[in-house]
């Protein structure tokens, strides 16, 4: 997924090849990750698509089903991956992820510790930020989840950037081998305050810790623990409001209260006037449904000694 692998770099000349991961786009809310295998087919409500017909096309191309319906074949990115991955847990989405990466001050070469791995949604973006020379060490105490995450990082080509460990981070803390080596630590755990003392030992001076918690009580307890060795403790909530854009016909009323765009009236105008007054405008309004809460993000900086 990342251009660290030169053969995976986007380019006008890059063609879909056997073994590539593609994101099949039906609609913005209907997407799927598919591994291209010459003999395979993809079947959806639009019909059957042969992978062999995809091979050799550029990414971003249309593909047709046996019924003549089309989909788009996109190159995977961490954003698209977050939308298509298998949910084995609650996951972080783009708004929280983006703020986390920015506030953790991740740059290429950084070492990040994360727990829990969950479905690997955040880990994928952490890996993108620290590539090509940094590393993400992510821990989950759930053996199958860790294994599935490992498989996913293999699939997305990130396994050289992400290492998944099975460990009870609340109980045992992060492994001692990382003491003083982490640029940043991220926690998405039910009782983050139990892991904070360990996170503190792992961080470099001035390194940033982030804890994500859905409930304010979790935040409250975490902050109490943070205050002894951390500074710059800040808690945020971030949400996205999305907008629907439509061409709508908003009618103008004339002095008599009659509708201008009526066909009888319009004949009196020149063609140009008619277009201007017919009321077709491109307008935007907030989408009526939105996610109302994901969690609180608490950031803190390790005090300098």
């Amino acid at each position: 997924m990342l251009p660290t692998d030169e053969t995976k770099q986007l380019s006008f000349n890059r063609r879909i090849a056997e073994g590539d991961l593609v994101i099949v786009y039906e609609r913005h809310d209907t997407m799927k990750a598919v591994k291209v295998i010459a003999g395979s087919v993809l079947q959806n409500r639009f019909g059957v698509y042969k992978h062999s017909e995809w091979i050799g096309k550029p990414f971003g191309s249309k593909a047709l089903s046996n019924k003549g319906r089309f989909i788009y074949l996109l190159a995977p990115t961490p954003e698209l991956w977050t939308l298509v991955l298998n949910h084995r847990t609650q996951i972080l989405y783009i708004a929280d992820i983006s703020l986390v990466v920015m506030y953790l001050e991740l740059v290429p070469g950084c070492v990040v510790l994360e727990s829990g791995t969950g479905s690997g949604s955040l880990s994928t973006s952490l890996a993108r930020a620290v590539a090509p020379s940094g590393h993400v060490y992510t821990f989950d105490f759930h053996e199958e989840r860790a294994a599935s995450a490992r498989e996913d990082f293999e699939k997305t080509g990130l396994s050289n950037l992400v290492t998944v460990g099975v460990r009870d981070i609340q109980g045992e803390g992060f492994p001692d081998e990382f003491i003083g080596l982490a640029d940043s630590v991220f926690l998405d755990l039910p009782q983050p305050w139990l892991a904070i003392p360990s996170a503190e030992k792992m961080l470099k001076q001035d390194g940033v810790l982030c804890s994500f918690s859905p409930c304010i009580e979790q935040v409250q307890r975490s902050c109490e623990v943070l205050r002894s060795s951390f500074t710059d403790i800040r808690t945020f909530e971030i949400l996205l409001r999305s907008y629907d854009v439509r061409e709508v016909n908003i009618k103008d009323s004339n002095e008599d209260g009659l509708v201008v765009s009526g066909s009888r009236k319009r004949r009196q105008f020149s063609q140009e006037d008619a277009e201007e007054n017919s009321g077709h405008q491109v307008l935007a309004r907030p989408s009526p449904e939105a996610r109302g809460h994901t969690g609180y993000l608490t950031f803190a900086r390790l005090k300098c000694l």
Partner: protein, 449 residues
């Protein structure tokens, strides 16, 4: 092409080491956070550099070689007041643990008569070498009303006096996070009111990562270009594209501690040069260079809040990375934003850019993106920032009509900060109500592809 695309491993490591350094050095850029964000000042550290706090100028020499995140305070010495590092073990804000409900404000009269210590008394204390903290304690001891205040107002009183008599200076790393926050707080118009969370979204939506070639249209003083360069870490390129003959200002790029390796990856090119099909056109190249030479990018003093040390004063310092493995030259500000070489422009034309970010409030998004989309590789993501919704809505509609991209979305981030304290947790009373709009999408492969 691959010679450019590939990185010299050693210099890339160097780039990361300087940029991610956790200890200051002579010649490095720092962000001084004075009294918890009351003042934010970018400085370049040198033995001769000073910062003015209150009525005094303080040498920045004590800041050289200290870890980022160190806290300094004013101390009095034989040669007058100077900056000295606060012992971290004595640090730590005392936050009242709970609301003291036995006291309230009913008897409080604020008539300025409560303080018995006069200005002369304070000056006398000072000349006898009292520290700022001692003055604050004396003020508290001589306040008739302090004892009767609630613990919450006591803390407020202490903080107010501390800011005046014992200012604290925090040495922050100039990273995208701190730089964007500093500008948003003090000079938001210079960065087109781009809030840090909005910037973070632009970087995600445009899939910015090492080894990419990112096209930006940045009329926001270089904040976008700098943020992208930070994420590239010296691998790949960020191309600041401009309309007309003069590159846009990259002033903010100089606030980062970019190594020369990272600066080399920040180049500029006119949109017309990127769009012409004939790259070997020497006449074109000549024009391009001439235009760049006339650009006044490096000579203006930084106008960040009363910056006492302009970042341009730097001479050729030798930076030494703390663990001694590198001996590095600082980023000469003139290096960032040099004209893109013919070779690299040819590579972009052959391969296409990996993604595009536009932050140009004065340019109509549709008028600019329709010319730039063809320069992007197929399936490349893009993100456009704007303060107004309508131009983005129109742009989105037109892209849809012409079937140039999919996954089109307009989003507006909403960010709320919280005060978290025992029994006193609530959202901040003041918040930024607007961080801008983003139109994002993915370019699709047209019939031409």
């Amino acid at each position: 092409m691959s010679a450019i695309a590939r990185d010299d491993a050693a210099s890339a490591a160097e780039a990361v080491a300087v940029h991610n350094a956790r200890v200051t050095w002579e010649g490095c850029s720092v962000l001084l956070d004075i009294n918890d964000g009351d003042r934010l000042v970018f400085c370049r550290l040198s033995p001769a550099a000073t910062v003015k706090i209150g009525n005094n100028n303080y040498s920045l020499r004590p800041l050289i070689g200290c870890p980022f995140g160190s806290l300094f305070q004013v101390d009095s010495g034989a040669d007058g007041p100077f900056l000295s590092r606060v012992d971290p073990s004595s640090q730590g804000k005392e936050v009242p643990d709970s609301i003291d409900e036995s006291k309230d404000n009913r008897a409080l009269v604020d008539n300025n008569k409560a303080q018995t210590l006069t200005g002369e008394d304070i000056n006398a204390m000072r000349s006898q070498g009292a520290t700022g903290d001692e003055i604050v304690e004396a003020l508290i001891a001589n306040s008739a009303t302090f004892e009767n205040k609630t613990s919450f107002s006591q803390e407020k009183y202490r903080l107010k006096k501390q800011k005046k008599y014992a200012p604290k200076i925090l040495v922050r790393r100039p990273f995208t996070r701190s730089i964007c926050e500093a500008y948003f707080k003090k000079y938001p118009h210079r960065i087109g009111f781009l809030r840090v969370d909005t910037l973070s979204l632009l970087l995600s939506m445009a899939n910015v990562t090492a080894n990419s070639n990112i096209l930006v249209v940045d009329t926001l003083s270089g904040i976008l270009t700098g943020a992208v360069a930070e994420r590239l870490g010296g691998h790949g390129h960020v191309c600041s594209a401009y309309m007309g003959g003069t590159p846009y200002s990259l002033d903010i790029v100089r606030m980062f501690n970019f190594s020369s390796e990272i600066c080399k990856r920040i180049v500029s090119c006119s949109i017309s040069d990127l769009s012409t099909t004939d790259t070997a056109n020497s006449e074109n190249n000549g024009k391009h260079v001439a235009a760049t030479e006339s650009q006044p990018m490096t000579l203006q003093p930084s106008d960040m809040e009363d910056v006492t040390v302009s970042l341009e004063k730097e001479t050729s310092y030798n930076l030494t990375e703390t663990n001694g493995s590198f001996n590095l030259k600082p980023c000469k500000s003139s290096k960032a934003g040099e004209p893109a070489s013919a070779e690299v422009v040819r590579m972009w034309k052959e391969s296409g850019f990996s993604s595009l970010i536009i932050g140009a409030p004065d340019i109509d998004p549709w008028s600019i993106i329709k010319g730039l989309l063809p320069l992007l590789s197929h399936s490349a993501p893009f993100a456009i920032y704007h303060q107004y919704l309508q131009p983005l809505a129109t742009c989105m509609h037109n892209i849809q009509q012409e079937k140039l991209a999919i996954g089109l979305q307009i989003n507006e981030p909403w960010l709320r900060e919280f005060q978290v304290l025992p029994a006193r947790t609530h959202p901040h009373m003041q918040m930024s109500a607007f961080g801008g709009y983003i139109l994002s999408g993915t370019k699709i492969c047209g019939s031409a592809g």
